[in-house]
């Protein structure tokens, strides 16, 4: 182990923006004796500290690994441009926050891949660490490079760069990976031996052990393991019960996004919205019992000193004990200054009651709802039915209960969308604004946020096309003009900034070349509005001789083999197809708590379903 020269480091930290991002030293940071442990991990979130430190997955794994006496986990994030320049100029390899050890000296580098637009940053992070980019260029002298996170359900675009992917919940599999690493290390074998042993762990995907054959037109003919014993399909891992809440959340010294205590109250969602990747890949629903939530809050407040807390889930209203929870959280915290936010509420008056239960604990500011589509037809297509009466009744209750700011999320570019569906967004926003003004006067502010739909792998819309950016732009222009006239605030993404996510989401391993070229052309921080330069990418596609339209704009037959078909979320492709066909017929499906639709999850995981009442699963 060689530590970074502190004198040199201090000198250039003096000149970079927000140097506190790079020095660690936060409350609850864990700094262990390097020589007192067997295996050393570094957990990387390939974006700046300000974003990455807020990632819950990283915090969970950091604490779980550091709780083991024979292991240590440190952290690293992407340096901002000024810091990157300083590192390159002084020839200093990227280092960890805790002990300032070069990343290349760790045993295992674990990278979080929460979304696709972070991929070029992964390459940049490896390069800054002095680690060869491609898995095939690395041997037993280099750290094992593993990745996990929501984007890994289609690992193929990153197949060239990552040694092994952990598919699904990482809380258990991380220790199995470490154990395999330790056994391999004790035997002094080559890297291939390690990869083969990793591939035998349930939920671990080692892309180099698979081969892909293509048809002449570029579609996938088949994907198969090259090595005997490697599974044909990798089924994701789940934690049957949610891991214990974080006891000692790191309290950053510099301000980050979501700078607050995070308590996960439920994982997964039963709603079945057809566009929603998180809703499929995080099945089944597992909820935390109220006692554990209250304990987590108590511990969190004492361990961090934060005065803000967020109860996290994909759909807070669906926790079966949510009313008890909000009441108890109020009773628990009414005598301290704690602001509690409860995001992702269903559109119904009950949600307003829930917020009311928190009384003075709820944060100032607005109420947020996500109708996603504005016509009954479109809402049936995406399986998020919501009669207009309920929407307006809810909005009325929101205003009547004192809220003045209302934010509404919608999507455009959905499969089968017509101009009338977009026009309806404007009409609804206008009606909502009029209602607000009638009830509460001119102080009411309505804010509409528009997202562009991107077809995601493992969802019923994985067969659908992405709308081309020009046509999306027309819809945005229409909304912008209409909202401007009505003085309704509108926010939206630049249509071409969603292109990248669309290419990569349903990409195959041939895109590895494109990602590498794009990075060489200068692409990084693609998730940032000012970061994404589409020219880098178009040039990269050209250099790799690949047509970008192949990934977003072509008919996909129902029998097509997808690049991610050998990765299983537990939800069957047949079920997704059935859902896709229902969406084309405008048919909806009830929340699966009301009856099982046999998506496949229980077939895969019923053997590990806990039978205590306290560890509730959403499946019937």
């Amino acid at each position: 182990m060689t530590l970074i020269d502190k004198k040199v480091l201090d000198k250039f930290l003096y000149h970079v923006e927000k140097p506190g991002r790079y020095v660690g030293g936060e409350h609850n940071m864990v700094l262990k004796d390097w020589h007192a442990v067997d295996t050393r991990l570094v957990l990387a979130f390939p974006d700046i500290y300000d974003l990455g430190q807020a990632n819950l997955g990283l915090s969970i794994l950091y604490e779980l690994v550091n709780d083991r006496p024979n292991l240590l986990a440190e952290r690293v994030f992407s340096p901002w441009h000024d810091m990157e320049n300083a590192l390159r100029e002084h020839d200093i390899p990227l280092f960890s926050l805790e002990s300032k050890t070069p990343i290349k000296d760790f045993d295992i580098l674990g990278i979080t891949l929460p979304y696709e637009s972070i991929y070029t940053n992964v390459l940049n992070l490896l390069d800054l660490s002095g680690i060869p980019l491609r898995s095939e260029q690395r041997d037993s002298r280099h750290p094992l490079v593993i990745a996990g996170g929501q984007a890994c359900f289609n690992p193929e675009p990153m197949a060239d760069f990552i040694d092994a992917f952990a598919i699904g919940d990482g809380e258990e599999v991380i220790f199995e990976i470490i154990q395999a690493y330790q056994e391999w290390k004790s035997k002094n074998l080559d890297k291939k031996a390690l990869l083969r042993s990793l591939a035998l762990i349930r939920g671990v995907y080692v892309p180099s052990l698979y081969e892909v054959k293509y048809f002449d037109d570029g579609r996938i003919k088949k994907v198969f393991p090259k090595v005997d014993g490697t599974p044909k399909t990798v089924l994701k891992r789940i934690s049957p019960t949610l891991p214990a809440p974080i006891k000692k959340q790191i309290v950053p010294n510099v301000q980050i996004v979501h700078d607050r205590i995070a308590v996960e109250i439920m994982r997964g969602c039963t709603r079945g919205c057809r566009f929603c990747h998180a809703g499929i890949v995080n099945r089944p629903v597992r909820q935390r019992n109220p006692e554990e939530i209250l304990e987590a809050i108590e511990l969190g407040v004492k361990a961090t000193g934060y005065e803000d807390l967020s109860l996290l889930s994909l759909s807070s209203s669906d926790h079966t004990k949510i009313l008890d929870i909000t009441k108890a959280v109020y009773e628990q915290n009414k005598d301290r200054r704690l602001s509690v936010s409860l995001p992702s509420l269903r559109i119904e008056s009950f949600s307003v009651d829930l917020m009311d239960e928190l009384k003075e604990l709820r944060p100032g500011g607005g109420f947020t709802i996500a109708p996603e589509a504005a016509t009954d037809r479109m809402r049936a297509v995406i399986n998020k039915p919501l009669p207009d009466e309920i929407l307006f009744e809810t909005v009325e209750t929101i205003f009547n209960h004192g809220w003045l700011n209302l934010k509404m999320y919608y999507m455009i570019g959905l499969p089968g969308e017509r101009m009338e569906d977009v026009e309806a967004i404007l009409e609804t926003a206008r009606k909502v604004q009029q209602m607000g003004k009638r009830l509460r006067g001119n102080r009411v502010r309505v804010h509409v946020s528009i997202g562009t739909f991107i077809p995601k792998p493992h969802t019923p819309f994985q067969w659908a096309n992405s709308e081309d950016p020009e046509s999306v732009q027309k819809k945005i222009d229409f909304l912008r003009e209409g909202m401007r006239q009505s003085k309704i605030k509108l926010s939206y993404n630049r249509p071409d900034s969603t292109l990248l996510e669309a290419w990569l989401s349903r990409g195959d391993r041939r895109l590895g070349k494109v990602i590498e070229r794009a990075w060489q052309n200068g692409a990084k921080f693609d998730a940032w509005d000012e970061g994404f330069q589409k020219d880098y990418w178009y040039k990269a596609f050209e250099e790799a001789d690949i047509k970008p339209d192949f990934y977003i704009n072509r008919f996909r037959d129902i029998n097509e083999n997808f690049p991610w078909d050998h990765i299983s979320t537990g939800v069957s492709k047949d079920f997704l197809l059935e859902e896709y066909e229902m969406s084309q017929r405008g048919e909806t499906r009830l929340d699966c708590r009301k009856g099982c639709h046999v998506c496949g999850i229980l077939d895969c995981f019923s053997d590990i379903r806990p039978n205590q009442e306290n560890t509730y699963w959403g499946c019937p």
Partner: protein, 214 residues
């Protein structure tokens, strides 16, 4: 409303190592959270969004270290000072070290209003000899004004310099420097260092004393 008289506590603390790269606003937030973790009966500011009442005497520029920072906070009830010190120290990161703690009359003037001067010790790299530094500083100080640029405007910092003394300690050339540190006249030692054609990142600037109005 807080009917009882607040218990006002003043601490002096050192800021070193990693924490030197944490700016003033972040430091304020850090203290709020650390105080919150102590479980002490903290007093909040009045108004629409109350905050823990904290008053830091003088913002320490990013990159400087210090053994003389001063901060006031208020409690709703008297607590033994040794207990406060113990609880707060264990809630603080290791690079913030409490040096002194005392009770202050609630009516005492605010720290920011009464701070006058800062005293710094600047340690030069080994390559800088005492005589050279001395000569360069003499040349600068001999001029009628010492102009530096602040946000596009030229400012004369000569009147802000109250003491300059070059000396040798532990084989290093050092400068003892007193400068204005009031709300209206705030001297920045790094500005003087730049005039010597030295990158402030190459020296260690430590605040060693804060001088208040009597």
């Amino acid at each position: 409303m807080n009917p009882i008289t607040p218990f006002r506590v003043r601490i002096k603390f050192a800021k070193s190592e990693n924490l030197r790269f944490i700016g003033h606003l972040d430091l304020q937030r850090l203290f709020e959270r650390a105080l919150n973790r102590t479980g002490l009966p903290l007093r909040y500011t009045q108004g629409f969004s109350p905050k823990i009442r904290i008053n830091i005497a003088s913002a320490l520029p990013l990159g400087f270290i210090s053994r003389a920072e001063v901060l006031d906070f208020w409690l709703n009830a008297p607590v033994d000072l040794i207990e406060i010190c113990g609880k707060l120290q264990s809630a603080l990161p290791k690079d913030l070290h409490i040096l002194d703690i005392q009770e202050i009359p609630n009516k005492a003037p605010s720290l920011q209003a009464s701070v006058l001067l800062s005293e710094y010790i600047i340690t030069f790299p080994d390559t800088y000899a005492q005589d050279d530094v001395n000569a360069s500083l003499f040349d600068i100080y001999e001029q009628e004004t010492i102009q530096v640029e602040r946000r596009g405007k030229m400012v004369d910092i000569k009147p802000m310099i109250k003491m300059l003394k070059v000396f040798i300690e532990d084989n290093s050339t050092k400068l003892r420097l007193q400068m204005d540190s009031s709300a209206t006249h705030n001297g920045r030692p790094d500005e003087l260092i730049k005039l010597l054609d030295i990158d402030p990142a190459d020296v260690i600037i430590e605040r060693v004393n804060l001088i208040f109005e009597e």
